[in-house]
Subunit: 483 residues, 2 copies
């Protein structure tokens, strides 16, 4: 290869040709989404191995690189497609991708307002919309992160700083057994030993029991510990459970605890009809994790942390240095003052552009549809005696088990998942709830509509029948019989 | 606005039209870069205020939104342009922007290898290239972050976990007075009180003095503390100083300290001719922060942490949960196991694509040019008796002062900066070194070539002459006289 052919600043003609090539590539990807398999890993190993190569001295034509990327993208879980019902989907609204192209190409810096005042304001505005959507009062502030894990981390660090100060070794934090493991991970990164983390039991609907929280706090206080934080779930990953926020807030207020809502998955359902009732109490939480790449269907790479007393973010994050004296002013707080990051991408645009382009109503309609689809799948599966439903959907997750003799269930559950996924129309994932294997349908891609959910349900019913026969075993089918 | 007109899934024709509109917008931005002012904040206030608006219920045509973005981008520090010599530039190689468009549009998940094996391998490969460029041994691993601040944070947390365990309150960390404030910030977020942070004095060239480190360690040990980490600079922000890595490594090894190199700015100069000598010792550091958005000229939003014993990343970051049982296997370590993040963007592509497209040599040539330009600017300014140069460039920063009577210097320095920047051909920033005001030229945009650096130097000389006259004051011009 001739290195000189590929300088970092291509000619205007080359820039245009590159842009056209990538645009065609991307549009072809989008056009094919509905027809692509929901997952496809056949023959991926040699593809993967081919990327295990040294750093090249010379350049390579863009067309060649795009050709290599095509199969690398195809051989994967199709997380962008309509059949993706595993984990927590999102889909990836395309306007966010266009926003990222703009943000990267113009490469402005928004960490301090002074360097790009109007762009920084776009990000502030987008963050303030999230505060308003959650019903937080004036004075709340939001920061945008790369995802829920770092949002939770910053929420925990902020709570630590506000409630415990620098000597936090006797601090204790609480959450339910159903809480996402990013909370445990974030707490450990924030310096808390495992012994300071209390995973508390849940009720029959997988919600943290307020009296369990109260008892644990009292017990820890009696032992000379400092309870300081409860993390409440607004939509668990396993079943979509929403912890009883008003009751938890009451217990927390009694004992001076910070309440952080992990609403990464569930928070945006506040937009849907009835959402304010469904998520009652979220507007009073001290901090909230949201994942726009989940409930706003954006591409991976955008989380948010909202803090009711927004200045608390500055109290823990703000530092200064001489070499930024030209851009830091007493009165202005930039994202570098409010978050752990300094230089980073202008990620506000990938939130602002989709919301401005499509309007809130487009997102609200989608969320409403997702709730209805999950409800429909629940009703269908419940009507089939082969399935045991773990809970009525609190949001858009349906968790269930195949009814089978106890000694068979741990084998037949994974086999059912394998068979349904092997059809490649939908892609489901599994979990364990209360120690037992369970399957999940999570409806949260904007590309998922009734036809795919019907495919999921009918594949489950057909494969279940093939596995356990026309009549499920007596042992596990005593609870409910319908036809 | 008619909400129904803007569903989240546009028609194929609309997708194509949107892509074309954004492509035209972006290409126009790039075409104009060389002619745009180096900064322009005139009239930005009403623009900024206009973005302070509520969340819209309905959508807005893309063309209108792009029209609003145009001036919002223009009224800023032109961080993408050739005249940007402030702070630490980068420029923003366009191929990375194209990579982000692809990554966001196809929205695959690379946090666990299983979900997109070939794409995850692309990111692993790109990270391994960084390890190789720094000369790290096999067994080293890299993670990609959003920037240097989070890289430093993860480096500190990894060192904390490896050297101190969960009870780290008696741990002490060391760095020079010239160290970037992201290190202090990261250490505090990681749970260290300010009293555990030691900012040590530097030598005449602003490098951490190894004997100062040794003495501080001994003193802390005598007080029952646990010294565990030294952060060494590979290119300070103020002057580009490189701490004496081999000597610091020796002291650190004597006392069992982890050595973290903050090479966010300077690390990639190892590619340039003589780089291995210049950065000698970096290949033996326990961890390294790199910012590809600096030394590889990529857009904001890409940092890296490299760890010599790569498995250390897993020991601190790995957590598990039932709902990821389908994708986590004992043998495989995904980025979610190695970093604080779980869901996040496929940011490996924005490193892989530019390096593959342009080849290493294009970056090497650029880095060599930047070193030469800084050296040239240094020689020119040194030949003018109105300037006091703080140090010969160790990398591509030139730091200097206007020679002026002591009572005038603090007024004339900022005035010189203001006048040079007001010409809008180049944009410089200031700092304080050893308590006194100083100006900086940092040459690190791939779009900056000799013409702009000449403009910077001639503007400085003309404005300096206008401010202090033909002959500088006797008081501050005693050290060096040349013409």
């Amino acid at each position: 290869m001739d290195a000189a052919r590929y300088p970092l600043e291509p000619t205007p003609d080359e820039l245009e040709a590159q842009t056209r090539a990538v645009a065609d590539f991307v549009l072809a990807q989008l056009r094919g989404l509905a027809d692509q398999p929901s997952f496809d890993l056949d023959g991926v190993e040699p593809l993967r191995a081919a990327f295990d190569e040294g750093l090249p001295e010379g350049g390579t034509p863009l067309a060649e690189l795009l050709e290599r990327l095509k199969p690398a993208i195809a051989k994967s879980y199709n997380t962008a497609g309509p059949g993706y019902l595993a984990y927590i989907p999102g889909g990836g609204v395309y306007a966010a991708a266009l926003a990222d192209l703009i943000a990267c190409a113009v490469n402005r810096y928004v960490g301090v307002a002074q360097a790009a005042p109007a762009l920084a304001r776009i990000e502030e505005t987008a963050a303030s919309w999230l505060c308003r959507l959650m019903g937080l009062p004036p004075g709340a502030r939001g920061i945008l992160t790369s995802g829920g894990s770092l949002s939770s981390f910053s929420g925990i660090v902020t709570a630590r700083h506000e409630r415990l100060g620098e000597a936090f070794q006797d601090g204790v934090l609480y959450f339910s057994e159903e809480t996402h493991y990013c909370v445990t991970k974030a707490a450990r990164l924030a310096g808390f030993p495992r012994a300071s983390l209390r995973a508390l039991p849940t009720d029959a609907r997988f919600r943290l029991r307020p009296e369990a929280l109260r008892n644990a706090i009292l017990e820890d206080r009696a032992r000379g510990k400092r309870p300081f934080l409860v993390v409440a779930n607004v939509g668990t990953t396993n079943t979509g459970a929403i912890d009883p926020l008003p009751d938890l807030l009451e217990v927390a207020r009694e004992h001076g605890l910070w309440v952080h809502a992990d609403a990464a998955y569930g928070g945006f359902f506040r937009l849907a009809p009835g959402g304010e009732t469904r998520l009652r109490g979220i507007e009073e939480c001290d901090s909230i994790t949201l994942d726009p790449h989940k409930g706003l269907f954006l591409p991976y790479g955008l989380g948010a942390l909202l803090v009711k007393d927004g200045d608390a973010l500055a109290r823990v994050h703000r530092e200064g240095a001489s070499y930024v004296q030209d851009v830091t002013h007493a009165g202005s707080l930039g994202f570098a003052d409010l978050s752990p990051e300094l230089s980073r991408d202008f990620r506000g645009l990938r939130l602002w552009l989709p919301l401005m382009l499509h309007g809130t109503s487009a997102f609200r309609d989608q969320l409403e549809e997702k709730l209805a689809l999950a409800r429909w799948a629940f009703d269908e599966l419940r009507s089939d005696e082969r399935f045991e439903l773990l809970d009525e959907p609190q949001l858009s997750v349906v968790a269930f088990r195949l009814r089978a003799p106890a000694d068979e269930a741990e084998r037949l559950g994974p086999e059912l998942l394998r068979r349904v996924n092997a059809r490649k129309r939908v892609f489901l994932s599994s979990t364990r709830v209360q120690g037992r294997y369970a399957l999940r349908i999570c409806v949260l891609s904007f590309r998922t509509h009734a036809d795919r959910v019907k495919d999921a349900v009918s594949a489950l019913r057909q494969e279940a029948r093939a596995l356990v026969g026309r009549t499920p075993s007596r042992e596990s089918s005593t609870r409910r019989r319908r036809t």
